[in-house]
């Protein structure tokens, strides 16, 4: 699938009435990202540590011949990840602006189609999550899915400035 089609789809997704998201767990929270960013969801791979890299970089791994970095987004989001790696631990590899990067999540729940009109903007402050990277909240019956602004979350240059 060419990037153009992907973008077109993404556009349609945004303009349409529904949004398809992948939901995943990190600590106690449930997050969601637009499904069209996702390239692959895999089990925790063998990760090679990259010395002298920023602390949020866990390392790099081999995704079928491609070298892909893996980052830890919990620091940024201000949430705690489960300490141990289980069968449920996954790496979600996304492609944002042509850059491939993976991040570790505690569990991937499911693909959801949610109606746009249930999405509300994030409050100025949230108890457990840094709202800077939150695009909106989707309230489903008993769940609250935090929709992430992935490009902003992964734009790591701005991070190094604030540090």
């Amino acid at each position: 699938m060419g990037t153009e089609t992907a973008e077109a789809l993404q556009q349609r997704n945004i303009n349409g009435d529904t949004l398809q998201i992948t939901a995943f767990r990190l600590g106690k929270e449930e997050f969601g990202i637009d499904i069209l960013y996702i390239r692959e969801i895999i089990r925790m791979p063998v990760i090679t540590r990259v010395p002298n890299a920023p602390s949020y970089v866990l390392g790099i791994f081999n995704m079928r011949g491609k070298v892909v970095p893996v980052v830890d987004i919990t620091q940024r989001l201000g949430v705690a990840r489960r300490d141990e790696i289980t069968d449920e631990t996954k790496v979600i590899v996304v492609q944002v602006n042509n850059v491939l990067v993976g991040f570790v999540v505690d569990a991937v729940s499911e693909v959801q189609r949610i109606a746009k009109d249930i999405i509300v903007p994030p409050p100025a402050l949230m108890e457990n999550v840094n709202t800077k990277y939150v695009e909106g909240l989707a309230k489903l019956e008993e769940r609250l899915i935090i929709l992430l602004d992935l490009p902003k979350l992964l734009d790591l240059e701005s991070e190094s400035e604030t540090e």
Partner: protein, 661 residues
């Protein structure tokens, strides 16, 4: 519309190509005013004229027309090749290049003034060849050959020919026939020489003393037409005529068998072959495990055989694909004579260029990156290296300086040498400058050897030129050269003897994509060191290790080598203090050596370099990554960066490493 665009595109490609060779041919005409070269130049201009006319670029076509007229006179022997004519032809070349580039950017060839040039061409065309017999060898041969043709025709068409005995010929006929045969013989001899590919091409071109003064003398009493030649006219940039001719001949021969391919397609092929190598490596590993487990099984033998075959084919395929990207270095070297000629005139020096090994091939992308460094080094040699003629004569050297450009293959590398027979580098002056500019500490300066001092010229911000000239002395120079070379994973060295000249040696990998790597273990992590930088590997148990100024050094034979503990450098989770049973990989570039302390050596592997990607960009000390046969990703150590860090620290700290023993 699209068709027009395509036509224009091919016009540009073709014309640029012709212009590229023309430059060479005009240069070689200066030293070898022979018919072949003249014809080649004439053909070149003729083709440009034709296609430009067809495309409606009238300026290009009328300028080439004027040049053609001049060349025609030369071909007929009605005119002699003089430096002025060469200049004019080079000017034509220059203006044509500008016009063509303007066509490329603006779609037209107008607005560039060339009337003055046309007048020069016309004036030159009006000149007559001098009457002196010795200077008009060209004319006589040309006239003679017309006569010969006539006589030969007559003789051969004579039905009585076979019956006529040689003594029936008139003396005149006899002499002409004799001469004709002689020339035919010469022609054969020349062809043979070209075919056998004599590497020493110099002999084909007359030495400047022989050539220029002789014709100068002859000109003197003749009509004052050629007198406008500037004083530097004796400047001879000798072009190895035979090899260029050989090359262009072989290129012409190749033309029928070649096709144009988009570089991106080749790059895609290259990437795929890289992936294939990875797959092959993995397959080899799996096969090995299977052999361990099911030794003796009938299928195992077949598997091994197939594996061996795949192995072989993969390697062959890879090198075949790599070869498609290879370009002879002549593409690069060919620029030199022209640059040198212009510079020599500017500086009032006499310099010739000798090229060697132009057929040596290397990766296209590397050639492109080499243009700037090479031009810069040639300029440096012309400006700082070669002395003015008077100074050379006083020093007992020939009037004209020589710059050699040489290329050759050494295993997996290409070595390029830029050598001159000028005054050489002045170690004292370099040292003084480096101190003045605070590039080294006084303690260090006192301890540096000559070779180390010479290498200071590569430091950023260094320039010894007392006066700033248009070409050098602006303080950006050799450090840019070095940076470019290092970007190509190459090394550059300088050596010099006062009064005898300077040699720059550049060593480059043939390709940038696949390298041999030495796998090492550092506190449980595996890294790879490019084997091309590894000089030797020793055990820490076999040599003495000292600490000098808080810097660990190892003494290997007479060398004292700074150590870098890889676990510390790489911040491994655990750090080992002792140095028992560990290894030191001595790595280096230029004359710099450092020792990398590692725990284990795991062997040597052919690896495909992968970047760390846009997300990570630059990581200090890491040059990239690669995927092993078992799928693991490992990192490649950036040896050059480590060495530079160590060197910088040492130069500024002023440690006594050099006298540690």
């Amino acid at each position: 519309m699209d068709e027009m665009k395509e036509l224009l595109e091919s016009f540009l490609v073709e014309t640029r190509e012709i212009l590229e060779t023309l430059d060479q041919e005009i240069m070689s005409l200066e030293t070898n005013p022979d018919g072949d070269t003249l014809n080649a130049i004439f053909r070149g201009f003729h083709t440009i004229k034709g296609t430009a006319g067809f495309m409606g670029f009238e300026n290009i076509s009328s300028l080439t027309h004027e040049a053609e007229d001049l060349l025609n006179k030369l071909r007929k022997g009605e005119l002699e090749v003089t430096p002025e004519i060469i200049d004019a032809l080079l000017d034509v070349h220059q203006v044509l290049t500008e016009m063509v580039e303007q066509v490329a950017t603006q779609g037209n060839d107008g607005g560039i003034d060339y009337q003055g040039l046309v007048e020069t061409l016309r004036r030159l065309r009006q000149q007559e060849v001098s009457a002196q017999p010795e200077s008009s060898a060209q004319t006589t041969t040309a006239v003679a050959s017309e006569d010969q043709e006539r006589v030969l025709d007559k003789v051969l068409s004579d039905p009585q020919f076979g019956k006529r005995a040689t003594d029936d010929f008139t003396p005149e006929e006899y002499a002409l026939l004799d001469k004709a045969f002689e020339e035919i013989n010469e022609e054969f001899a020349r062809k043979e020489e070209t075919a056998s590919g004599g590497t020493e091409s110099k002999k084909a071109s007359p030495t400047p003393e022989e050539a220029t003064p002789a014709s100068g003398e002859a000109e003197a009493p003749s009509k004052e037409t050629v007198k406008t030649t500037p004083p530097a006219k004796q400047t001879v940039s000798s072009q190895p005529a035979v090899s260029t001719k050989k090359l262009s001949a072989s290129l012409r021969g190749m033309a029928d068998n070649t096709i144009r391919v988009d570089v991106r397609r080749l790059e895609a092929l290259m990437d795929l072959s890289g992936e294939l190598v990875l797959g092959r490596n993995r397959l080899t590993q799996i096969t090995e495990s299977l052999v361990q487990e099911f030794r003796g099984h009938e299928l195992i033998k077949k598997l091994q055989e197939t594996m061996a075959q795949i192995n072989f084919i993969t390697t062959e395929l890879q090198s075949a694909i790599m070869k498609t990207r290879m370009v002879p270095i002549a593409k690069l070297f060919q620029r030199a004579p022209r640059i040198v000629r212009d510079l020599a005139r500017e500086f009032g020096k006499e310099i010739k260029v000798v090229l060697k090994g132009e057929e040596t091939e290397l990766d296209r992308s590397i050639i492109e990156e080499l243009v700037d460094p090479l031009v810069h080094m040639i300029r440096n040699s012309c400006d700082h290296g070669i002395e003015p003629p008077e100074e050379r004569i006083q020093a007992g050297k020939p009037r004209y300086g020589t710059i050699w450009l040489e290329a050759e293959h050494q295993e997996n590398h290409i070595v390029i040498r830029i050598r001159d027979d000028g005054r050489g580098l002045n170690a004292e002056k370099i040292k003084r400058k480096a101190l003045e500019k605070g590039l080294i500490s006084p303690e260090v300066a006192a301890q540096l050897g000559d070779k180390e001092i010479y290498n200071l010229i590569f430091l950023p911000g260094f320039s010894t030129a007392d006066k700033v000239t248009s070409v050098s002395g602006r303080g950006v120079g050799m450090d840019v050269v070095r940076t470019n070379i290092e970007k190509l994973k190459g090394i550059i060295e300088v050596d010099s003897k006062p009064g005898e000249g300077t040699t720059f040696t550049i060593k480059l990998p043939l390709t940038l994509a696949i390298i041999q790597g030495l796998l090492v273990e550092v506190q449980g992590e595996v890294y790879t060191i490019p084997l091309s930088s590894v000089i030797e590997v020793v055990s820490t148990n076999d040599y003495e290790i000292y600490t000098v100024n808080q810097q660990e050094v190892i003494c290997i034979r007479d060398d004292i080598i700074q150590l870098v503990r890889m676990d510390q450098m790489l911040n491994t989770p655990t750090i080992r203090e002792d140095l028992e049973n560990r290894y030191v990989c001595v790595v280096g570039f230029a004359e710099h050596r450092i020792g990398l302390v590692v725990d284990e050596l795991l062997g040597q592997k052919e690896i495909v370099i992968k970047s760390l990607g846009d997300f990570l960009k630059q990581i200090p000390g890491i040059a990239g990554s690669t995927i092993l046969g078992d799928g693991r990703v490992i990192l490649i150590i950036d040896v050059i960066e480590l060495i530079r860090n160590a060197q910088r620290a040492r130069l500024l700290r002023g440690s006594n490493v050099a006298t540690a023993s």
